[in-house]
Symmetry: C2
Amino acid sequence: MTLRSPNADAHDQGLERAFAILHATFPEIRMPIQSICTSLARTLGRRTKYRINAASLALFIASRIATAQAQDVSLDTMTLLAWVERAPGVWSAQIGDVDSTDLASFAAAEPKREALGAMNSSPIPFANGLSRGSMVAGRAVAHLPLGEDERLYGFGLQFRGMNRRGSVHHLRVDHYGDVQGRTHAPVPFYVSSEGYGVFFNTARFISVYPGIGNRRDSANLPPIRDRNTDSQWAARPQSDAVEASVVGPGLEVFIFAGPTSLDAIRRYNLYFGGGALPPRWGLGFWHRVPTNAPADAIRDEVAQFAAQDFPLDVIGLEPGWQSKSYPGTFDWNSKNFPEPASFISDMSAKGIRVNLWENPYISPESSMYRAMLPHTGSHMVWLGVVPDYTLEVSRKILQDHHDKTHLAIGVSGYKIDEVDGIDEWLWPDHAAFPSGTSAEIMRQTYGLQLQQTLHAMFRERNQRTYSLVRGSNGASSGYPFVLYSDYYDHRGFVTALVNSGFSGVLWTPEIRSARTKEEWVRRMQTVCLSHLAQLNAWASGTKPWSMPEVNDAIRAAMHLRMQLIPYLYTAFAEYHFEGTPPIRSVTLEQGFPVSGDTMKLAETEFMIGYGLIAAPMFGKETSRKVAFPKGEWYNFFTGEIVSNGESIETVHAELDEIPLFARGGAIIPLAAYAPNVAAMNTATEFEMRIYGSGPATGRLYWDDGETLGYERGEYGWYRATAIPSDETIRPSIITEKPFGRDLPSAQWRFMSR
Amino acid sequence: MTLRSPNADAHDQGLERAFAILHATFPEIRMPIQSICTSLARTLGRRTKYRINAASLALFIASRIATAQAQDVSLDTMTLLAWVERAPGVWSAQIGDVDSTDLASFAAAEPKREALGAMNSSPIPFANGLSRGSMVAGRAVAHLPLGEDERLYGFGLQFRGMNRRGSVHHLRVDHYGDVQGRTHAPVPFYVSSEGYGVFFNTARFISVYPGIGNRRDSANLPPIRDRNTDSQWAARPQSDAVEASVVGPGLEVFIFAGPTSLDAIRRYNLYFGGGALPPRWGLGFWHRVPTNAPADAIRDEVAQFAAQDFPLDVIGLEPGWQSKSYPGTFDWNSKNFPEPASFISDMSAKGIRVNLWENPYISPESSMYRAMLPHTGSHMVWLGVVPDYTLEVSRKILQDHHDKTHLAIGVSGYKIDEVDGIDEWLWPDHAAFPSGTSAEIMRQTYGLQLQQTLHAMFRERNQRTYSLVRGSNGASSGYPFVLYSDYYDHRGFVTALVNSGFSGVLWTPEIRSARTKEEWVRRMQTVCLSHLAQLNAWASGTKPWSMPEVNDAIRAAMHLRMQLIPYLYTAFAEYHFEGTPPIRSVTLEQGFPVSGDTMKLAETEFMIGYGLIAAPMFGKETSRKVAFPKGEWYNFFTGEIVSNGESIETVHAELDEIPLFARGGAIIPLAAYAPNVAAMNTATEFEMRIYGSGPATGRLYWDDGETLGYERGEYGWYRATAIPSDETIRPSIITEKPFGRDLPSAQWRFMSR
């Protein structure tokens, strides 16, 4: 028994308080506790060298009692997680009781077990005893180990930075507005630079503390420093764990093995059904018309695309197609669209698809209203009722209405707006829904509910859609819905594109308008290298030709987009069948050099498919730095070598040039330019661009481009090979998996000879 | 039975799905449900004019089943709140089971029932049946009625805007950084322009939806408008309720009656013990020294105040007074302060008090560490342990240490830093604490815990403190702790000052540094008219004389502060005994003209005590607009009339002038200038400034200025009266409640003659 603490000789003033604690603790003792302590202190005092008085003794005993009664808060009290293998390289563990509605229940398809099994095997990444879980004050808490040098990526559609270590993320579906954790798709998945991924399978608001928050009994605490005198003092001392929690009965955690970080992402995507494979037309150019544009004006606008040699695959109708909006009727506006069926069929005849904007809150003037009303929540959004789409009956009302009035006349997809936030626009966190689903889970999954409902409707017709949605969440890789946002910072748009690849979501850094011609061109170049190339002119009324002095540069970017379609489509097939994100961070490449500089650059450059790196320019820049992974990298357009590995290079690009680089040894298939995919489908020749002087290879995926046939095996895989340095060996295309139709013939182009 | 909905003739594709629902619902029916429906549809079809087929019938039945099974989400399902009177004009109602730790449990004192009883009586503001509560999906929800034109103020220390209606507030104690709802003191109290207040007595994170979020079955819905065609369309349609919720077992709600809005605030303050009465020296000038300043440097700095004729009452020591900091030891740094006792006693001899900075996270090198360790939480802050101050034993360890090593040698108070946020700095939301208190409740009350612990310690010595704290919450009016922040926008600082008065918190819009001399002077002028006049130079190292070219203007503001002390002290006495905030919004004045312009202006002007309005200037302004309430208002310095009621006036003020206005009919007591309160206490004359030409009156409160004697009746109230227009009647001071000592004599000054 040691009584050296400064309170050991606590002055008499504290005596009464300490005795009060003891009296309250031992009400059965009738003798004054003060007397007991005084006497005991005297006895003890004679036997030690320390000053002991009744007060200090009372305090000591009171403190020990409090400790004994107190909850043990050490890490040891957390239970070891019991990992169960769910699929090859995929494990899960459960803390408490999990919800019936979790994110995994929204997955678009069953796990691709065969593809998972075909990957390199990798062990469970955490040593025994290092991952733990517990219930604390109504929260389910997970504790996972983290190495000193690990970097963590993910948490969905993030617009700033890449490495999420060291910041707290309160993940909540919301309109992005610079508030950390709140974004359109706050996917609770992260991937480590050490080659594994972790998914928190919950549809609740979840708070994640990646490498931040030091436990008192951590085995790996950083040194304590004096802020006053030590310049190494850290405001956020590094922690040795990722901790996460939800308020609720429990939490399920998934681990996705590597061996590489990209493998972990692939497993995540494959486990939730494989990535989305859009219809080929979805990769063409999209244009959204002004919100109130009537059919005739749109016909004129469409004609201008052809007249001015700009491609167009999809025309997007905005709120004015509905008889009323905000809240919407989902019924055609007979003034703007007196004959919607003939309008769509005229578009279709030109090879152009029609996409409809909507938000899912229903006006009393909608023909769906009476049927839907009983299945809606306690609160409204813009005075429209909020259907509970966790109910089969609600989904069916929406599907039946849309199938009959939209799909039946040829609508190709939707732009689902306003399923994200802001808090003031959506239902409150305490709203009630007829299924009993909490407002919180509704908020986190409403975008998923819409994707699920509409996706199923198109599938019924053996038809693919490519659509837009403004809110999503985890386990959604399989949905052919692309995220968008009102956030309009160009750099942030590109960083979101980079980050989307960490979380199994798709993103369009759409173009709307620009203050300068430089910005206009640079934005167009970016969006033409993204998941969905769209001019979202609903409010701006801009057209591709709105700044005539840069029409050529704008046209070049759009034409390039069209030519890249075979390559992009192949990248999406790799997403679907192999889980590899079509657009992703360069840091996922083996041999990417890690430093402060390269990691910062990596926030604004990205891989496209297996062999391209894009590095968008911003504003009036005509040069920028690009960080290159291992290997040789060539200027995509000229075939000149730019990097021979793990370097930072300054690259120049005039306004009409896009910094785009091809991997040495890659063969990139391009289509001959066509104004839309319908025209491209009848093309007879691909250009196969070969980069570098060594053996080169490339892939090509092909199918009908529109139906679900690919799910039934109706597709082909082709491999192009060439050895530029050996002209005796002719380049060739090998059919790895045959598809019924003939491929266009190949025109070989040696870019680096 | 009506089958007119558009899905009534749902096409066959939906048939199977509807039948699946029916089959799942009635598993006991062996006969194919399809046959039943087909047959039934045929029968029904013959009897109605509507087309009925098996599919539509199945869907209709399925929909009715879903509705019958569904939770009723209407407002009717919420229980009527049962209001119980707690004190005159104060009612509470309970939803579910409330927590043992709520905000009210931290109140500094018992309700001032006598003062509450002495107020004008007012009925409960809500009609029967309009206030409701319920438990929804683990949340306790309150629903309170709201009139169409009501404006709502409050929710604590808010830096932007005043009327909080129409925005969602997720109230969380945090460092303010422009994230709505997160602030140093997110007090869950609001006051309505209709003259009542509402307090949500919870220590949990609470989400409040004031006038935002329309219920489907609201009786007062605004009209639905088409966003496309109607310019009146509102993104946030007005709602007829305030709703609020916490995740937890329940929620207690308080109502404070008026009849005026100011009365409701007064009742709130009185119910939670009355406002804080600082020691008189707390109203003098405070100066904080650079973080590592040693005692000798501080002596020099203090000497400069006297030499340059700047007042100084309190010197604040920053982290360098501790042997280590972040985490702190709370033990003296023997290098900087070899003899702390003599340093403090030297200061005391000059009439200067010493205030100590600390944050409450304990370094292993602290002499308190070993005793405290068992009573700390699972996680650390800057690698210091986090005491669980809900435990008596923890409080006692801190009190004993501080009393012995600080108070015993004369420390006058503390600046309690870092009890607010950011998330990355504090413990995670899932941290565990030995008392079993949740991390959430710890977060919301940690600032309160420290105020409670330290306040009690000073009280034990029959001594008042005036201290600083960076985190607080509701029910805290009685604590003599002033909030501060790193947020440094001057306008935001002033708006926070205005808003502090709605929520029973005190705030210093401290001055640190400035980019221009104009900003330096204007900031000094503002802080000298606030709850605590402090130059917080811990990092900047600035002194009042740091911009010599404006020394005179700076000195003038500081001298004015000193002269205002009798008036300010009286204003605080009115806060303590009557609940009236010493600084508060001009909108609380009867007859304040409400318009868009005046409400905007009111964000940057404020009442001080019973008779002054201050309207700070910003940046290089030399004029601004000021909105005046009813009555005559005079230039405080010149006595010239500025407004004769409910007007907006443009006022001019050169850099050395402060726009300060006195109410016509007010008598404002000023002290003769003294460099600190110790010197002022020996002064023999007050200047009584009389404004206007009609009968004038003013109050003066006086007591010993330092002890708790005022709680035992040892104080005096005096009333000054004058009739400037009738020179036959001499001004006089009437003793309304006598105090043992003589007041200084009065020098009358007729400002408007």
